[in-house]
Amino acid sequence: MVKLLKRRLEKKDRKKDKKFGIKGDTDHLKPFRLSEIVEDNITRLKNSMNNTFDIKSREFQIGGTKYQAAILYIADLVNEEMIMSHLLKPLILQSTAVIDSDTEVNFQSVKDSMLSIGSVQEAETFDEIVLAVMSGDTFLCIQGYAKGLIVNTRELNGKPFAVPTVEPSVKGPQEAFVETLKINLGLIRKRIRDPNLMLEEYKIGRRSKSESVLVYIKGIADPDIVEDLRKRLSSVDLDMGQSAFQIGTLVTDRPDSIFPQVQITERPDKLVVSLSEGRVAVLTDGSPNAILVPVTLPILMQSPDDYCESWLVSSLIRISRYVGLFLSSLFPAIYIAITSYNPGMLPTRLVLSIASTRTGVPFSAFIEALLMEAVLELLQEASIRLPKAVGQTVSIVGGLVIGQSAVQAGIVSPIMVIVISVTAVTSFAIPDYSLGLASRILRVPFMILATTLGSFGIAIGMLLLLTYLSSLKNFGIRYLSPITPYRFQDWKDTVIRAPFKDLKKRPEFLNPEDTERSHSRKKEKEIS
């Protein structure tokens, strides 16, 4: 207890110190100017961009002269081929031709006659340079000049992006991660031009040596979480580090839980918003998914579409999603409990119509539900396995043959078909696939409880489930926060989604270092 309190206090102190320390934008780099020494410039620039591994620099001598020069760029964002052929090649190899023609080699002549690239700009202060490099330009500086050149080397044409298939959205961007780490990092860099975006590289897998990258924003993410994840990542001992999920299970406390302990996403936009909330991501080469920690149940219930509609609309949709989560694990259980223990709770006409549809059905409600549930699970599994061309068969066989014929044959009652269908539909409304799986797994235990103990059993099951959920923790964050370690401030973006003007603070439960999203109304801007 005392320890906890101490930690809290320390954190508060730190927050106070850092309040004006780290800023997200590049404005604070304005007072820094270039010096005349190339190495010095490159080191300082790299430092101001936190030395992430994808910042590349190359020092060289301009062909045939003693002029020292260097370029600096971010590998994920630039067209490297362009740099090779239009920047390095002319400067290193072809510049001799220029020099031969008696032109004096100086800053101006490099700018005017050595670069075969359309857009070249002069720059002196760090803020312009950093912003340009972060946007995919290349910075070139020459010994003896306190100014440099910003050369446009942005990768403009579309890369072979994938379209999100597991987490589709209506209005959100239609971009997904691919199997190549570099492209994925580019997708993130493209969205955050913050010099504080930190990328740390890990080689995971004794044999595969897969590259994994820890991504977070310095100054937002809780350093404790980052440190914790760093430790866990470096202690991962694997033969082959292949999937994001595999690494995810290795870095969590409760890998056995049916509830997802890491969020797996294929959406760069989701990842970027999560980073800006103070979460930490891990990308792995060869996997089109990124893992995000820490994760909580309310986070898993959010969808990118929530931020593309009016707050009233998206709040209603989100509430209906919660209803879906509830029904998808409980609806068959509630049906069994009410019909076989408390038919008095239903309106008379409903009781009579349910009872009359059930006459002649040979099984009890529980067996009936179990049968249909098994069929449903098999159908879902089968429809994933089947190639798309044959997929139609499953829906016809499943929908018509099993649904209708089973009812006509008197094996199941039509009302049970309705119950199971509603359950199936509701489970698809859960935005996170893994959470949907968890809710499906919970169905059967709840059905057993309902058939043995009725509504009382459901209440017991619900209590156990809630106890379990609130005891779950990952990276020090409770699984049900901000609902149950009560933080009212964060409820604005939990079950409802408050208007953006009220969402000026980052979620408090994630312990962000910089708590403010926007300081004034004018600057307010939201990324979906």
């Binding site: 009359s356 549809t357 009725g454």
Partner: protein, 410 residues
């Protein structure tokens, strides 16, 4: 290791205990018998009303064998009939236009005995379903049973946890079973149809709406008099018509529909209805007013040992219809004023007549003046309360009505 073994065995024990103690009252929804209506007649039947038994009694002797049960003690006094829906005959929606329903929709089982609880359990030997009373809609008592007193027979209905307070208690002249035998045109089950009639309270005020089991039990225990709904039937129709007046827990007689309307007006249970008057002198028309708002205030006036009541009835209503009215001044202020006066007179007359008839014929305080005295004049009630039954028939009551026509509809 040992620790975790201990823990898991404890967990296993807990889960086992939970699951093994379960299931004891589980019953699939289609294996219960949903008793929708319940009728109580006296046995042996009145020679007069026995003639009115339905024609579909094929072999009365056979039936009687089943209906009689062995008794531990005494002679059979009551015949209880329950209505069970025949679920197999309920038409399932199998396709547009296809009606699979054949045969009767409900089964009326009669059992004769002298305690309702034993009758109830005896029925288990005839149904194959476990009887379930939470969906009971109506309890119908025959006049004969009601005249013997309600408190004798309602005990099971108060004790049994499956009995709801919302069950409608209805009184029927003649045989109560005949009400359940009705095959209604618009519903499958006569009990459901019958209880639906009482949802029309905002349309018609000539029925008794406060006829629930809960109300009856409260009134019985507090010693108040009350009115229950009277119901009559033909082969395929029921009608709630007037009320049965209860005095000291026994039925004292019938109240007409108009009297029920007046009782509703005075007891503030009027939710909407129509009153029609002839137009004031000069014209030969008739005007109907729909009452939308009604409020009666009863003030006890105590003068020594004398008590009298003043009832102020405030009524708001809409001009709904006129018939045979040939005047161009329908909307003129004086005309409406004189119309309002007619209504006031009509309401006053109706109420005064009803009060007199209740006082004289039945001596039944269905307006529950005693309750008002108890609350408003506790000192008087303290002194004279025990004699209320003898005081009541001679209590003077003045009725003042105040009618406002709000909307004229044109």
């Amino acid at each position: 290791m040992r620790h975790s073994l201990k823990r898991s065995s404890l967990l296993l024990f807990l889960i086992g205990a939970l699951l093994l103690t379960g299931c004891w009252d589980q019953k699939d929804i289609d294996t219960r018998g949903y008793v929708l209506g319940l009728a109580i007649d006296s046995y042996p039947p009145d020679p007069q009303s026995s003639e009115s038994t339905g024609p579909n009694q094929a072999s009365p002797q056979e039936e009687e064998k089943l209906e009689k049960m062995q008794l531990h003690t005494g002679e059979p006094g009551y015949a209880m009939t329950i209505q069970l829906p025949i679920l197999a005959n309920a038409d399932m929606p199998e396709g547009p236009g296809i009606q699979s329903a054949e045969g009767s929709q409900s089964w009326e089982i009669t059992q004769i005995g002298n305690s309702f609880f034993s009758i109830n359990r005896e029925m288990a030997s005839r149904t194959g379903l476990s009887l379930y009373y939470e969906h009971l809609q109506v309890l119908i008592l025959s006049e004969e049973v009601a005249r013997k007193g309600l408190i004798n027979i309602l005990d099971m209905f108060m004790r049994e946890p499956e009995m709801r307070r919302g069950i409608k208690v209805l009184i029927c002249p003649g045989e109560a079973k005949s009400i359940l035998d009705v095959v209604p045109r618009i519903d499958k089950y006569s009990s459901v149809y019958l209880s639906g009639i009482f949802d029309n309270s905002s349309r018609n005020s000539r029925m008794v709406y406060h006829t629930n089991m809960g109300d009856v039990i409260c009134a019985l225990h507090d010693g108040h008099d009350f009115v229950l709904a009277k119901v009559i039937s033909t082969k395929d129709e029921n009608k709630a018509s007037g009320g049965a007046v209860f005095h000291n827990g026994r039925m004292a007689g019938w109240a007409t529909e108009m009297e029920v309307e007046a009782i509703n007006l005075i007891r503030n249970t009027y939710e909407g209805g129509v009153i029609t008057v002839d137009t004031p002198k000069g014209e030969e028309g008739r005007v109907a007013m729909e009452i939308t708002n009604e409020k009666a205030e009863i003030t006890p006036i105590v003068n020594g040992d004398q008590v009298s009541f003043r009832i102020d009835i405030k009524v708001e209503g809409d001009y709904s219809e006129d018939i045979n009215l040939h005047t161009h001044e329908k909307l003129s202020e004086p005309f409406l004023k004189s119309l309002e006066a007619e209504y006031e007179k009509e309401i006053q007359d109706l109420c005064t007549e009803t009060i007199e008839s209740m006082q004289e014929k039945f001596k039944a305080d269905v307006f529950q003046f005693d309750r008002i005295l108890q609350a408003g004049e506790p000192a008087y009630w303290e002194r004279m309360g025990s004699d209320w039954n003898s005081i009541y028939p001679d209590v003077g009551v003045t009725v003042h009505a105040d009618v406002h026509i709000i909307l004229t509809g044109i």
